[in-house]
Amino acid sequence: MISEEQKYLKEGQSLIKTAFDFEDYILRRSFGLYYIGWAVAFFLYTIPGLDYPLFTRYNWILPLFYISSSLVIMLFTGYVFSRAARVSRFLKWFRPGRSLTAFILFFVYISIIVSLLAFFGFYSYFILLYIFLGIYVPWAIFNTMWKSGTRIHIETWVAVVTFVVACAISIAGIQAGLYYILTIAWIVVASIWFVCGVVGLYDSRYKSMMINDDE
């Protein structure tokens, strides 16, 4: 015979599991939007590389593309990380031991990179940038997912691996002076991230276990 405590406990555990399954579904869809947003940002960033003389005809064109790219990245990253941060804050209270710093660190990173531009030349800046991105972005994604209790799905692995490979190709391309390689690499990454985003959005599954309305 089940005691009253066990009855409450069983119901409570079932509700908590359902709530976290739902959060996992929501965060997976949010990360889908994140990959799509970054794919758009990558395209904006690499389009000038397709025809440099055309895009440098006027002084304002190139900065416009780079600034738009950065704004798109910040918008979509802010949306996803703020959502993940809410889950993480809850987990920190409910299951102490977890904390989310990636969201804050990302904006600190942006400030540092912009400041570094003043001290390093174009060449060094981009080498440093790709090394930093190749380490930081995968860490930020996995760290966010882990601290918000989200499962790491296949599209995340594909996105992270292609990103790291593209950073490595970019460093090699800059050192060899073959800048067109960067354009090709980041267009490929943008396409793959777009597909990852679509997978995250449409493959997310959640079926409510609350079948009977107990009203």
């Binding site: 409450y8 406990l9 509700l15 908590i16 889950v87 009203e215």
Partner: protein
């Protein structure tokens, strides 16, 4: 045993409020305590309830002061947002802490039973 009865007392006092005597409403409040606010469509997905049934649950929670429902226009369509109140957050946190306490007690009882069995063997 003492913490078990404290948790039970806490849960009994929570369930004195008829508005909380429903798994769906508890689930809605748990998710709102994580996200602070959610849309009607998201809650419908969460609970699997039809529009009318979900509306009834939200009405009960609103009348008891656990949530606030706001409606706003988004281009040509209406969006309904449900936000949890401070009372809702405090109540659901008490509920979750009581459940946590019961879970800890049960784990403790299983561990002591296992140790007793090992000693016996």
């Amino acid at each position: 045993m003492t913490s078990d009865s404290d948790s039970l007392k806490e849960l009994s006092s929570i369930f004195n409020d008829r508005a909380l005597k429903s798994s769906q409403r508890l689930l809605i409040l748990i998710c709102l305590s994580i996200n602070r606010k959610l849309g009607f469509t998201e809650l419908s997905k969460l609970t699997g309830l039809a529009k009318g049934s979900l509306g009834n649950h939200l009405l009960k929670l609103t009348l008891s002061g656990y949530i606030i429902v706001t409606e706003h226009s988004f281009f040509s369509s209406k969006r309904i947002t449900i936000k949890i109140t401070e009372k809702g957050i405090l109540t659901i946190r008490k509920y979750l802490l009581a459940i946590n306490e019961l879970e800890t007690t049960e784990k403790g009882e299983i561990t002591s039973t296992t140790s007793a069995d090992s000693d016996f063997n």
